[in-house]
Each structure stands twice: as structure tokens, then as C-alpha cells.
């Protein structure tokens, strides 16, 4: 997959490296800003409340 992306990027090695870096940063940004905040309440970590059945806030 990564090899395929590399081969399809334009320019010489330096330009490709730069574009790759931008792509990586964009992915990290999307993950931190949208994906992780969405996924977090669905995962059974960090439940701090007492509640009946304890399923309500998970």
C-alpha cells in the first residue's frame, strides 16, 4: 500500500518525501480531531460514574 502511494506521487524523491510528510500530518490531524473523539466514548476505558448496570455511559 505504502509502496503504491510512493510510486504514484509526482516529482523526484525530495518532493515525494515532502508530500508524504504532509499526508501523514493530515491523517494524524483527522484522527485526533474527528476519529478519536468519536471512538473514545464507545471504548470501555475511563468510566468514572456509578450507575445501574454500568452500561449506560459506555
Amino acid at each position: 500500500m505504502y509502496g503504491w502511494i510512493w510510486r504514484h506521487l509526482p516529482g523526484n524523491a525530495w518532493v515525494r518525501a515532502l508530500i508524504s510528510l504532509v499526508l501523514v500530518l493530515a491523517v494524524v490531524f483527522v484522527l485526533f480531531q474527528y476519529v478519536f473523539p468519536w471512538a473514545e466514548p464507545l471504548l470501555p476505558f475511563n468510566d468514572v460514574t456509578v450507575d445501574e448496570g454500568s452500561g449506560a455511559t459506555r
Partner: protein, 221 residues
């Protein structure tokens, strides 16, 4: 070629997990600090603007901030919002007041009852990270639009199952309190970084001071 794809998949999943841990342990605290500071500021503005004006609303919307909680010993200053929703309250760095359904608890201004709140032990500002270090007698102050309510820590339940809702009762089970009174309950998770059990800390109100009389001794100096 198939072996290579599988390898890349594993590496990707590993990096993804590391990134998620980074997000949890670092980035959520950065975000929570920002929102909590903002919420404290806007609460103070609202109170200053409303001073002497219209009466405070009888009920607060879920997610709406209405108080500031101070634990001087732990250097904690955190806004309290209505409800214990993860997305609306707890994961925004706020402490949540048990205010809905069967788990509804009293407000600090009520004549008797138990003001119960939940907060994160880790991540999202981790306001309750070190509540296990509180000793009997340590002050916890709740500031609202009307007054400063000073509580004194009385007892701790180091570990209890998450289904133990008796700890939220008006006279909390296991707290050692025997009759009706004005109590404070803090709940968080334990051991740290897990959700296996809950830790509960109780306090009893020792002072109620109208805002007009200034900050209580526990916050001064």
C-alpha cells in the same frame, strides 16, 4: 506480495494504537485544560453580569456549567456541569453532577442531601487524579452563583463495583454518615487507567458563605 500487505497492515494498526494512546494521555488534557479555563471564565462573567439581576434558573440544562469546584490541597479548580454524559460533560474536562433519572442528587444549596459529582481520574484534564490523597479534614469548596459551600473530607471508599449506586444516596451507604445532612460525593475510576472499579470520596458541609461575604478561608491565600 500478500505477505508484504499483511506486514504493512500490522504496522499501521500498531502506529494507530500508539497514536490513540498519545491522544488519550496527552492531547485530551490539552483540550480539557482549554475548555475548563474557558468555562470558568464564562461562568464568572455570567455571575458578574447577573449579580443583583434576575434570579438564577431553577434547573440547568444537561451539559450546562453551574459551579466551580476547588480542591486546594490538590490544586484543582474545575467547572461543574449538569449531568454525567461523557461526550457533553466529562470528556470536555468538566466534572459532572449526577442530575438525571434514578441517579438524581441534590444541589449544594439544598437544605439536605448529597451533592454527587463524577470526574476523570486520567485523561481529559484528570481533575480527580489524586483524590485518593485527600485526608479527613481537607477542604473542598463549591462556588455557585449564590454562595461558597465549604465541605470537609470525611471518608473514602478506595474500591467498589461500578453498580454500587448506594454511594449516591442522600445518606450515602458506606460513608459512615448516619442521619440526613449536607454531603458531598466524588466518584472516579480506580485503579488508574482502568474502568474496573470506582473510588468514592465523601465530605460534609461545614460552611455556607454568601458571595457578598467574599471567599472562604479555604481559598484565601
Amino acid at each position: 506480495m500478500a505477505g508484504r500487505a499483511v506486514g504493512e497492515l500490522f504496522i499501521t494498526v500498531g502506529v494507530l494504537m500508539l497514536l490513540f494512546v498519545t491522544y488519550q494521555l496527552w492531547y485530551t488534557n490539552v483540550l480539557a485544560e482549554r475548555t475548563a479555563d474557558g468555562a470558568v471564565g464564562s461562568l464568572r462573567e455570567d455571575w458578574a453580569a447577573g449579580a443583583g439581576g434576575a434570579a438564577a434558573p431553577k434547573a440547568f440544562e444537561p451539559g450546562q456549567g453551574f459551579a466551580i469546584l476547588y480542591i486546594p490541597k490538590l490544586d484543582v479548580k474545575v467547572p461543574v456541569a449538569e449531568g454525567v454524559s461523557k461526550t457533553k460533560v466529562l470528556d470536555r474536562g468538566l466534572v459532572g453532577h449526577y442530575a438525571e433519572g434514578a441517579l438524581k442528587t441534590a444541589m449544594p444549596g439544598d437544605r439536605t442531601g448529597n451533592f454527587a459529582v463524577a470526574g476523570h481520574r486520567n485523561t481529559h484534564g484528570e481533575p480527580f487524579r489524586f483524590i485518593n490523597r485527600l485526608q479527613p479534614g481537607d477542604p473542598v469548596v463549591v462556588e455557585t452563583r449564590e454562595a461558597y459551600y465549604t465541605y470537609e473530607m470525611t471518608s473514602i471508599l478506595p474500591q467498589t463495583p461500578p453498580a454500587n449506586v448506594g454511594v449516591l444516596r442522600p445518606v450515602p451507604e458506606g460513608s459512615g454518615f448516619t442521619g440526613p445532612g449536607r454531603y458531598l460525593t466524588l466518584t472516579t475510576c480506580t485503579p488508574e487507567f482502568t474502568s474496573t472499579y470506582r473510588m468514592v470520596v465523601w465530605g460534609r458541609m461545614v460552611d455556607e458563605r454568601p458571595r457578598s461575604k467574599g471567599v472562604p478561608a479555604a481559598l484565601a491565600g
